[in-house]
Symmetry: C2
Subunit: 315 residues, 2 copies
């Protein structure tokens, strides 16, 4: 768990307080850790709880955003129906916003990050999985069942032929473009690659160091096979972006998470594929950019959601 005090301009007021979640200790302990992380963040900013206007909390799914509940996400077993929002609200006695973590990161980038000039944006967050968030005119598309912006499960290939995703289905973007699957695809490509490639050194030496980051670095260094894997990744992400262009037609599509480190060459590859494959009229003008808030996007965005609770309504 990570917590920080963020001011009205979206600036963190100290380094974030971080504590391990330990889901196995149960949800009561988890809620207390959450509160303690918040207290430490306030202290780290040399403030007291009285100085805090509102609190924003973001968690991974499954969740019920409107009800403020963590339901029963596989990564947080044995938690079930955890009343996150109401607990935090009653402990600190502050207006408390609750949001999905990827949605919060998207809101952070929308508010003060890469898409701060945009009226609408879509974020693809690239990590162990592929997450996402959609913001239109300051409104987060939460979805009727709190599953808005589950962009890792957009299909980019057909259910009979696509790669198998962790969700059990075939063809999901996540099965191609998550960090894990970038590595998996690199393994598969190596098996039929006849030319030289530095990728083999990492693969054979120690499987633990064979990461998406290594692949991106080797690609930037000119390794041909690594470049193929990276180019394919850009193509898959572009297909995801094209689906969003045909549905919500955003002003900006932002790519965040680990792959930002892959640099401008990777961004330009995604953009090239989008311009080639997207619906021409909206695609001509859509902006393709990297996230700018790094791993702070989530708590900055959560704070931004809290800010919306107390902001005077426009006339």
């Amino acid at each position: 768990m990570k917590s920080a005090v963020v001011n009205d301009h979206g600036h963190p007021q100290s380094v974030p307080a971080v504590m391990p979640t330990h889901p196995e200790r149960g949800q009561e302990a988890g809620l207390e850790t959450m509160c303690e992380t918040i207290r430490r963040a306030i202290a780290a900013a040399n403030l007291t709880p009285d100085d805090i206007t509102a609190i924003g909390v973001a968690t991974p799914g499954l969740m019920d955003i409107k009800a403020g509940l963590i339901l029963d996400p596989p990564n947080l077993k044995p938690w079930k129906n955890v009343p996150v929002r109401d607990h935090i609200k009653s402990v600190f006695n502050k207006p408390t916003a609750y949001q999905n973590d990827a949605n919060a990161a998207a809101y952070g980038e929308f508010w003060v990050g890469a898409a701060q000039e945009a009226k609408s944006m879509v974020l693809f967050t690239l990590g162990t999985g592929v997450g996402g968030g959609i913001i239109i005119n300051d409104v987060i598309i939460e979805g009727e069942h709190s599953h808005g912006g589950e962009l890792g499960h957009l299909r980019i290939d057909t259910p009979d032929r696509g790669r198998i995703c962790g969700c059990g289905a075939r063809g999901c973007l996540e099965a191609y473009a998550s960090a894990t699957n970038v590595v998996n695809r690199a393994r598969e490509e190596m098996a039929c690659w006849r030319g030289p490639t530095k990728l083999r050194e990492y693969y054979t030496a120690n499987d633990d160091v064979f990461t998406a980051r290594v692949i991106f670095d080797l690609a930037n260094g000119g390794d041909e096979l690594a470049q193929k894997v990276v180019d394919d990744t850009a193509y898959y992400l572009a297909l995801g972006a094209c689906a969003l262009i045909a549905t919500v037609d955003p002003e900006t599509v932002v790519f965040g998470g680990g792959m930002v480190a892959a640099g401008e060459r990777f961004r330009a590859l995604i953009e090239g594929h989008v311009k080639r494959l997207g619906l021409p009229f909206p695609t001509k003008s859509v902006k393709i950019t990297f996230a700018s808030l790094g791993s702070d996007a989530g708590f900055i965005g959560a704070a931004g959601c809290a800010r919306l609770l107390v902001l005077p309504k426009p006339a």
Copy 2:
């Protein structure tokens, strides 16, 4: 062009006035025809322009919804940058809303049609092409470039293998599920079908009568090949619905247009594929339904958009 007076409850007050568009006569003539259609609709309802509170106009794309302009849609050549909203507004001196036609149809179904109980909905409109509209909490997702809800151009197969769409790209939903392409697929299936099928009678007798409607009717009558074509259509539409479930996670997905006539068996087929192929949590609860307003959805929805202009804002 079609126009009708609609009351505050979404009920048309007479049969709609209909006039041919004649785009080839130029856009000045077109705007005058539009005004005349509105005047005839008012007269048909035994009302005078003074009785009208606001006017809603919906047109096909390409358009700039915010600016109230028809840009240069291929079906309306030689029109270019036609100031529809401002013209109607100044001629009738009424608050005037402007919207994409499929978005307006979606709003009609959302307001008083098949999704009137829903807080969020997606409409797929099935005709010569496949259109769409997305409504979330009474807000139409217009898109930054007026291309929100262009659901016919969602890809359901890959750009290298998919069917070729009228837009030039491969894999668009429209290339599979539009009325035209249902017929095209039936032709292709017939070419390799060894069993009996009544489809051949229609195909050989007169190509003009070989319509999607015929295929759906024969499927309902038990023709095996027609059923395959219809089942595949349901599958393709379900893939489109799944993409919307993973992006906006709507409460209801509505299918409108000609294929509504295919009846409950077709709806149930779509639903079955969605339940099988969609992201499990939101898909469990999503409603799959047919549109209920028929070809009135567009003008009812346009009137609904006009109503939003004059409705008191919620406190």
